[in-house]
Symmetry: D2
Subunit: 204 residues, 4 copies
């Protein structure tokens, strides 16, 4: 069974910016590991390039790109939620997506299951320094609230030493510990997504 993954990149920069993205690099590291377990990473949606309106419904009206992004996310089995860290916290662009997923709480089926049920989410987090555990906490709490399942070791991150300014994309190679973490994350996420796709949560 081949599984489908999709990634969100919560960078503050739009995709047509000249600069490449450290978050994209981390998503790539995870995507490569997932491929070894039969999970195909399709597109990465650069959130800052889409017009995702503020709100907590699934469609905030004319010009809102969320309905399209939402549909793509829910077509996949596994979500890689990528975000940079600013001031020790996830980006406002990433946060906006969580808010829009709040609507899942009211979109349950007859067994009370949200559209995200039986799908797996993992975190891809990068920053110059500090904040990865806190972003993981905020992400997992919100994603889990709205129905996503978190596999063991569901976060992969890189940050530099305190108060440093190096970007993940500037590192000559992926640090071995990060590579190991990504490998285990991918193994766990693929396994769990496969189990849940074969046997969905029954609901209540």
């Amino acid at each position: 069974m081949t599984l489908q993954a999709i990634a969100l990149n919560g960078s503050l920069k739009a995709a047509d910016a000249e600069e490449t993205s450290s978050t994209d690099r981390m998503i790539g590291v995870i995507g490569d590991e997932l491929a070894k377990h039969g999970v195909a990473l399709g597109e990465t949606i650069r959130l800052a390039s889409r017009n995702i309106l503020p709100g907590v419904s699934s469609d905030e009206g004319p010009g809102d790109d969320w309905p399209d992004v939402r549909r793509r996310i829910l077509a996949a089995d596994l979500l890689i939620f990528g975000t940079p860290i600013w001031l020790g916290q996830m980006s406002s662009v990433a946060k906006r997506v969580l808010e829009r997923m709040d609507a899942f709480l009211g979109e349950t089926d007859d067994q009370g299951r949200m559209p995200s049920f039986s799908k797996v989410a993992v975190a891809a987090i990068v920053g110059n320094e500090d904040g990865a555990h806190s972003v993981t906490a905020s992400l997992f709490q919100a994603l889990n609230d709205v129905g996503w399942t978190i596999p063991a070791g569901g976060a992969c991150y890189w940050v530099g030493e305190a108060m440093h300014g190096t970007d993940f994309k500037e590192l000559p190679q992926v640090p071995p510990k990060v590579a190991e973490t990504a490998a285990m994350l991918a193994s766990n996420a693929a396994h769990l997504a496969r189990l849940l796709k074969a046997e969905r949560y029954p609901g209540t």
Copy 2:
């Protein structure tokens, strides 16, 4: 000495929306108390009505409303940072403002002082249920990182019982405990802002 306060409302709704805002009500409660201590609350900036671009510089180019909002904030002595709670966290609209303040870190004077130094910030937080302490934590950490001073008891909030849906604006009256908290917050914030305006941090 009369002091000047300004408020930010991080509601997901623009100001021209038909609905009133619970966050505005909380800002009003605090503003009324500040007035008793010689602090005049000027405008409340409804962030969702302004085009604050994603980024971490003080000017992200054409169409960016942040330079104007930034100027207004820094013209005041005291900031009331208002935000609703979604999924237990501050709004993406509020978060965006924190990101833009990241630039303060590089805008220091010869004594190393950021533009926010010697100014006081307080939090005005509302939600249907739960999340106020967490939003307070995220706000105070980020605001303090970028130079704001937090007076004793610097947050005033209201949330309903777990999993409830009542809005603060629907309450027939402001709960006595909230009113007491706002009164003390205002007394402390006014006192501290006055001390710091008279004797600014000397820097290094």
Copy 3:
């Protein structure tokens, strides 16, 4: 296949205290729901009644009760992590257990799997007012770091209105929303624990 659950109660009060525990009541609500799905809740360990020494190893020497508690936790398939909220955060007693689980990071098997791998954890959180989402975030981040898997909707909580003082144990009945949440949590947790027990994470 019958599954075994164990619960931790992070109350600040020891079990021989005269007062009953709101956290125990929430654990009971979840335990009753789990029973409907073939999961037997064995003991609830009142952490404040055990002498769990500070540290980050699996045995901190003479008088340390953690080795016994650790063995009991790892003998179960599913963990209900219960904690009260103080100042919007989990208790120090609950926090101590997370610290002791830090040792799991170094106790991996040949496939890199921690002792907690393929086991499911859920949260049972109670407080007078506010803090449940934040405690959920801290708990899920830490538990997931050390190998636990979090099912969809993995937290059940109750808190009162802002600045109120009612305890969960004083409520005449469990609020319907809390009961619904517990029912869904139990359905999801039992399903996931069963899948993972039958097919463990393969590791790397």
Copy 4:
């Protein structure tokens, strides 16, 4: 006017342990800077060496060391709250102290002022990797809830690169950025503590 500071060290190790403490080193860095501003750092209380009982009152009975620690903290003008990071969070030993300060909420004078009012708190945080911003957030929210005032730039921290194991005490010298941060923190904290000692919050 000479001011008095006191420090808490939330290390998991008792003071008679053979190992020195990274948290102590960070407290020392801040203490040295405070001395340049007329603030004398008296003792550092190694919390793990004292028997601080779980609870939320100011005296939990026989054997409780909190009443003594509490008295010493409140005799000072400025508190350096030091803690290591474990799993991205403050230590259980540090957390215990916050819980005990919960009692301040009920120990107000006729003007509604807690015993901590008009006193300044700063954070000294160290870890092998990541977590400083999150610990700052949790600390500032809780300390501010119970009456402490937070000066601009009130946290000084060091953490290593993601997933690294170096301790702050092992660094050959204090990194320049950390030294700069400590210098500014000390300047701000001393200034604010001096202002608030001369003119206390008036309360309500």
